[in-house]
């Protein structure tokens, strides 16, 4: 679009955003809803990380929506780019061979991949204790797969297994939610397992379990997406 048409728009948006920025006064005290969360999460859920407590329990329905979004993106990208992978027309393989990965990257990857994987696992499992959780851990795991893809051209992302694992993880999350109805207060309520001792690894009901499933699912989905793009 010609710049002349865009400038007045930016000026107008600037006015709109400016009215927000100027009148924004920093909060000095927590709003009632947040204060309640900060007080309720450690007490009722036994999870030190209030954000994960909100994400995986009180607003777990949002997270369920999130899971569906990522699931659909994997399926959608598969639909869009799926057809290409099988064609393997000649110039595809030719381009990747143009710049063979150097052994530095290959060895670097050999060292780093376990480290990154360990780090991803740490984030997922300690989701309810420190910063992190299912989504963040999954993303780090996917970056590990990305490293592998970059380092080793012969590495093929195994779409079949990943999609099975992804579906299984999704199913388990939904079943966990249903279990919430049967055993605990309601759909997606994680108090089906004992709260355990505050701050321990196995505590805060089923939140760690849910984080693990989430981590696995997000990891698989992002790897599938990366795999689709690579082909």
């Amino acid at each position: 679009m010609p710049r002349a048409a865009v400038i007045p728009l930016l000026v107008a948006l600037g006015v709109v955003f400016g009215s927000v920025a100027i009148n924004y006064s920093e909060r000095t005290v927590l709003p009632p809803l947040a204060e309640a969360y900060v007080e309720m999460v450690p007490r009722e859920l036994g999870a030190p990380n209030v954000i994960t407590g909100i994400l995986l329990n009180y607003r777990a329905f949002d997270t369920l929506g999130e899971v569906a979004v990522l699931f659909m993106v994997a399926a959608g990208v598969g639909l869009l780019l799926g057809g290409r992978a099988k064609t393997d027309d000649p110039d595809e393989t030719q381009r990747t061979a143009a710049v063979p990965p150097s052994e530095i990257v290959r060895h670097g990857a050999d060292i780093l991949v376990p480290l990154v994987a360990l780090f991803a696992a740490y984030i997922v499992v300690h989701g309810h204790l420190g910063p992190g959780g299912g989504f963040q851990g999954g993303a780090v795991a996917a970056s590990c797969i990305l490293l592998l893809v970059l380092a080793k051209p012969e590495y093929r992302v195994k779409f079949a297994q990943l999609s099975v694992m992804e579906s299984l993880a999704g199913l388990l999350i939904v079943l966990l939610g249903v279990a919430g109805i049967v055993f605990a207060g309601g759909f997606l309520d994680n108090r089906i397992l004992p709260l355990g001792e505050f701050g321990a690894l196995f505590s805060a009901g089923a939140i760690p379990l849910l984080s693990v499933f989430l981590g696995a699912k997000v990891g698989c989905e992002l790897s599938v997406i990366i795999g689709r793009f690579r082909a």
Binding site: P42, P48, V73, F135, F229
Partner: protein
Amino acid sequence: MISQTVLVTGLLLMLVGVWGMLTQRNILRIVIGFALMGTGSHIVIVAVGYVAGGTAPIVDGPVTVANAAARAVDPVPSALAVTAIVIGLAVIAVMLAFAIRLYEAKKTLSIDAFADSKW
């Protein structure tokens, strides 16, 4: 004061994103414009949650259960930011996939080439 500067940066980043997506011809740069706009909105979300002198709402060493209400930052926007970031990622992934298909369809990435159906 801090959250105001972060808010302004977020909003500016959104404006840069809007400028990028509207003036660039290449589809990949348009997608980058969208990514910038998304990141800008995520920064604004986090900035809105900041409480003066607050720290992360994680109840461990320094932030005890007792004084958590006084010390912690508002957890709700950060929780929603996680969801928003995932959605932002999803949308950018779909856009890039479409960009690849568009490139294969017409062997060009200029947005003006894709103006088929009109009136």
